[in-house]
Symmetry: D2
Amino acid sequence: MQEFYADQDIKVLIDAARAARSKSYSPYSHFQVGAALLTRSGEIYTGCNIESASFSPTNCAERTAFFKAVSEGVMEFKAIAIVGALENQPLTFCGPCGVCRQVMREFCDPNLFRIFLSQDDYLTRSYTLEELLPEGFGPENILIEKTSPMEDA
Amino acid sequence: MQEFYADQDIKVLIDAARAARSKSYSPYSHFQVGAALLTRSGEIYTGCNIESASFSPTNCAERTAFFKAVSEGVMEFKAIAIVGALENQPLTFCGPCGVCRQVMREFCDPNLFRIFLSQDDYLTRSYTLEELLPEGFGPENILIEKTSPMEDA
Amino acid sequence: MQEFYADQDIKVLIDAARAARSKSYSPYSHFQVGAALLTRSGEIYTGCNIESASFSPTNCAERTAFFKAVSEGVMEFKAIAIVGALENQPLTFCGPCGVCRQVMREFCDPNLFRIFLSQDDYLTRSYTLEELLPEGFGPENILIEKTSPMEDA
Amino acid sequence: MQEFYADQDIKVLIDAARAARSKSYSPYSHFQVGAALLTRSGEIYTGCNIESASFSPTNCAERTAFFKAVSEGVMEFKAIAIVGALENQPLTFCGPCGVCRQVMREFCDPNLFRIFLSQDDYLTRSYTLEELLPEGFGPENILIEKTSPMEDA
């Protein structure tokens, strides 16, 4: 983990996460989160948390950003910025939940993908995914072959 | 439920779902789904299913489309078209899973929102959400007040 | 759907659901649910809702009951009773969320499995799973073969 | 992280996880997991993974064990043993998925709760939850007050 004040490049990502947070649909927790996902080619996909009355289908900001990118065919990522706080409260460091770390593990290199958590004053903590999800369970644990079962027929 | 061959308007939505299906990330099930969500103002948000090695974080096509729309601040919807099949198989009627019906229940009027399931030949079944999720558990069951807990302080 | 006052047999199931509800862990919604699942051999497995700060991993009462049974090797079920309300409020009809209906679909015959919703006075509504999850997506949609991929090697 | 051959006490927990694994319902991944959760008072709750055709409602072995315990009113835990592998394959170290780490975070002290991963020969790795889910998002992030909203009325 490194802690620093964000430089201009990372500020752009953090500001995208802040803007996305304004769309948060969180009538049950009133906890609002925004995320901005940087692709290898330099694009940014953003997301907010979207809650559900039955709680389980709730989707976090980080996953919203990932699902938007993947659904557009984008699967290579460099970093994500995350900001969160109860509504009307100052931003404090808000770590991604375990579900979101798992989705990151599906698409990202644990040693290269970076996660930025940021406060109101742009004080920022930077982690690799491996730091936040060591010993991760991933595709390599479960995929015995990359070929389609269709091809076996 | 009504069954009919899609007219031009609905074909546009089904074709958007078919195109979205091509982005499906489904290395574990090889079952590919696409969805196209029509907003009240006439825009279309699309999605595909996105799987996870640990299965639980998997996101269906329908939810991907909803989360994209909601994260852009859009929360009023008219209909969704869904197409699905194992890869390289013809499209057959593929009902939304319960998780996705629950997310629809969060944002849609059960009696007005329409769900279209379609086959390769555009033979289409149309349901209201109420038909597919009767006695649904929704926001009205859990929200005792619309005010923020912040305002109680 | 049928509506009636529960007879003695169904009261036993409803009372088991009520007792289970007392274990509800719901610090975020304060909505407490209990469920009691009747197996083909006449045993009852119970469950309550168990929430999570990140919402998505939340488990409903119905699923808790199913997971307990299945983890003991029991996979044949006849009916489930469900009771729910905000804490300190009277029980009102509380339909299962879509996620739980989907789990029921995995293990139960849609036309035979019965779901009982009950109020404080034992006024009860009874549904088949097919009534609550028509056009359900189930194992038959995705399982192309019952054999293990191991056997292909 | 520590690595060692399990002593008798930990073997008991690992063997309970192995026995639970035999109940795994995993027709889609054929990846079978068992878990055994040790409570503060010395009881053991076990669980297996239970899959769903729509993937999202899938429940892992670790969560099954937690939900069983919590639904019985037990909420204080010391450790969990986890074993997993594709069916008919030798057990290898199998880390918990992010969703399960999040559920652990709800109920356990990150610095005290221990997670044991074990191979066929009882070679075992031991982690604290803090090691596997650093910077975890937990109840303290979201609970602004412990009182019920009912009491506000």
